[in-house]
């Protein structure tokens, strides 16, 4: 539901049903709305059976990678020899994405319930919910909800703790998040070992995104077949997905649609399209880390994992950034490059130096001092920042550069040729 806007008839409201409903935030209110029934049901099931239901539902990770959730859970050791951990990734920091924030603000118990079910499925005794430091309001709400849930004894033997981040985008990367909980710099780890073998504190760990876990209680309650049936296009993409729409649209916000819904419908019907008198120029469909789409690509794109890939981008976290014809793509790409340069953890050479250099080249082009060969240099740098590092932060910096130069080359060339008023950036 496009809170704060009224639900659109074409939305499929599952996760966002109670957005804006203050009473749903409380334990009592949540129970009244059928909350914690799925948990009670799950706790009566064998963990493997719970995993099986989620597998069957086709639910895929909503944090960006789209990895099948049930399959991920099944990687945990069958024979339990060590403590198991669950990490909940509430470090939502991908520019353009603000869905997990709304889940925590309005339906904290949905997340807690999903967390407890997942912990049961992977046989974890402790779950840490890692909330980014800037999310002060969601933190307070989650803290209150957790206290209520604990008081009501809903978790049984499972312990759920909140862990506050402190300002680092990269902590949304799963192994960086684990390092951060361990009291370390949020550096991504080299893999293998994978978290299911050696994750948090070196123990078998599963990490899931907030939206993924919030989807688990309805799946258990209404059945895998129901969830699987929520599919408008590719059967590999099932269920509903929250899309955060921001930038140049009339009604920005979160909208929940069935997988396979047309992006055009989301942007024009639900969000009201670009501001009056403007036309859509470009769209980043899955958070700032994915390639930019042109207007044509945007208007023919279907919103599921495969549909966005078909257009040359990725569904990512579902953060949709819209640019209208007033947007200076060169400037906006510089802002994104600067974001990644700011957030690079400093481990890998290509990322540490490459993101900063990329930003400098972009700034120079904007200042009117760019050279024609700068575009080739940017592309070459991007090539060497893609698929070469521990995590994908440098790939994410390269994605808008490469797609931007490819699709909006004219705007770059205008700066290079002195046909655009230079922009001084510092």
């Amino acid at each position: 539901m496009g809170f704060p806007h009224k639900p659109h008839p074409k939305e499929t409201v599952v996760l966002s049903q109670y957005f804006g409903d203050v009473e749903a935030r409380t334990h009592k209110g949540w129970v009244k709305r059928g909350g914690y029934e799925a948990l009670a049901q799950a706790l009566k099931m064998d963990p493997a059976a719970v995993t099986e239901v989620v597998k069957e539902s086709g639910l895929r990770g909503r944090g960006g990678a789209g990895f099948p959730t049930g399959l991920k859970w099944s990687f945990m050791p069958k024979e339990k020899k060590k403590p198991h951990y669950l990490c909940v990734n509430a470090d939502e920091s991908e520019p353009g994405t603000f869905k997990d924030r709304e889940i925590m603000r309005w339906t904290p118990h949905a997340l807690l319930e999903g967390t407890a079910i997942a912990a049961h499925a992977i046989r974890a005794e402790i779950a840490y919910i890692y909330i980014r430091g800037e999310f002060t309001e969601p933190w307070t709400i989650m803290e209150r909800a957790l206290a209520e849930a604990n008081a009501a004894g809903v978790f049984g033997s499972i312990k759920v703790y909140l862990h506050r981040g402190a300002g680092a985008y990269i902590c949304g990367e799963e192994t960086a998040l684990m390092n951060s909980i361990e009291g370390k710099r949020g550096n991504p780890r080299i893999k293998p070992p994978f978290p299911a073998a050696a994750g948090l504190f070196g123990m078998p760990t599963t990490i899931n995104n907030v939206e993924t876990l919030a989807a688990v209680p309805p799946i258990l309650k209404r059945g895998a077949a129901w969830y699987k049936g929520l599919c408008l296009s590719n059967p590999k993409s099932t269920g509903t997905k929250l899309f955060s729409v921001c930038g140049h649209v009339q009604r920005p916000g979160n909208y929940e649609v069935t997988m396979g819904f047309p992006l055009k419908g989301l942007l024009y019907d639900m969000c009201g399209g670009p501001p009056a008198g403007r036309t859509l120029k470009a769209c980043i469909p899955g958070g700032s880390s994915v390639p930019i789409l042109t207007r044509e690509e945007t208007e023919s794109c279907l919103l599921d994992y495969e549909g966005v890939v078909e257009k040359g981008s990725m569904l990512g976290s579902g953060g949709v950034i819209v640019f209208d014809d007033s947007a200076d793509m060169v400037y906006q790409i510089m802002r994104l490059a600067r974001f990644y340069a700011h957030e690079s953890c400093a481990q890998c050479t290509q990322c540490r130096e490459g993101t900063a250099w990329t930003t400098k080249i972009m700034e120079r082009i904007l200042s009117g001092q760019g050279k024609t060969k700068d575009l080739d240099l940017l592309l070459d740098l991007s090539e060497n920042m893609t698929g070469k590092t521990i995590c994908v932060l440098s790939d994410s910096c390269a994605a808008p550069i490469v797609s931007g130069i490819k699709k909006f080359r004219g705007e770059f060339e205008a700066y290079l040729a002195g046909k655009r008023q230079p922009v001084m950036v510092g």
Partner: protein, 166 residues
């Protein structure tokens, strides 16, 4: 390695604060994992994380001051210098930028007298910083004043906000 406590330093982790920390320890299998929450408590109590506080945190958690400093400098929300009474973080990443975030920064700088981004106003009341994505892109421009998260801030709303916090 030496880490001495000299001068008039007053430790943060005593009494009730130490008790609070003890309850934080219960959540983790080791003390190192309590580092981020410990730093949050230290910042709440002292306003910023000085080198001296890092040394105290290190002592309390059985770490070295250098280790703690490495972690503090990784996370942008720990202040390594004193900041104004109102610490204002304005998101200026791309989605907010296209919705006019730079104007919001300018308005805050003007109306608070903070002068430059990152600097503190002469009366010690305001520090305005530009930050990368605050995770509320649909509510551009989000502004975090201390722990208060404001949405849909426009340059026009800034004077009233400043009045409220002054």
């Amino acid at each position: 390695m030496t880490a001495s406590h000299t001068g008039s330093y007053e430790p943060v982790f005593v009494g009730a604060v130490m008790e609070e920390l003890q309850s934080v320890f219960q959540r983790y299998p080791n003390k190192q994992a309590a580092l981020l929450p410990t730093l949050w408590i230290a910042q709440r109590e002292h306003g910023w994380i000085s080198d001296r506080i890092m040394a105290e945190v290190a002592e309390v958690l059985g770490l070295t001051p250098a280790y703690v400093k490495g972690v503090v400098t990784f996370y942008t929300m720990y202040h390594q210098h004193p900041v104004g009474k109102n610490f204002v973080q304005v998101c200026t990443t791309s989605p907010c930028n296209i919705c006019g975030a730079e104007g919001v920064v300018k308005a805050f700088l003007e109306h608070t007298g903070a002068g430059d981004a990152g600097a503190t106003s002469p009366d010690g009341k305001w520090t305005i910083v530009e930050v990368e994505c605050l995770g509320a892109c649909g509510f551009a421009t989000p502004v975090l004043i201390n722990d208060d998260f404001l949405e849909n801030v426009t340059p026009e709303k800034v004077p009233d906000i400043v009045k409220k916090y002054r």
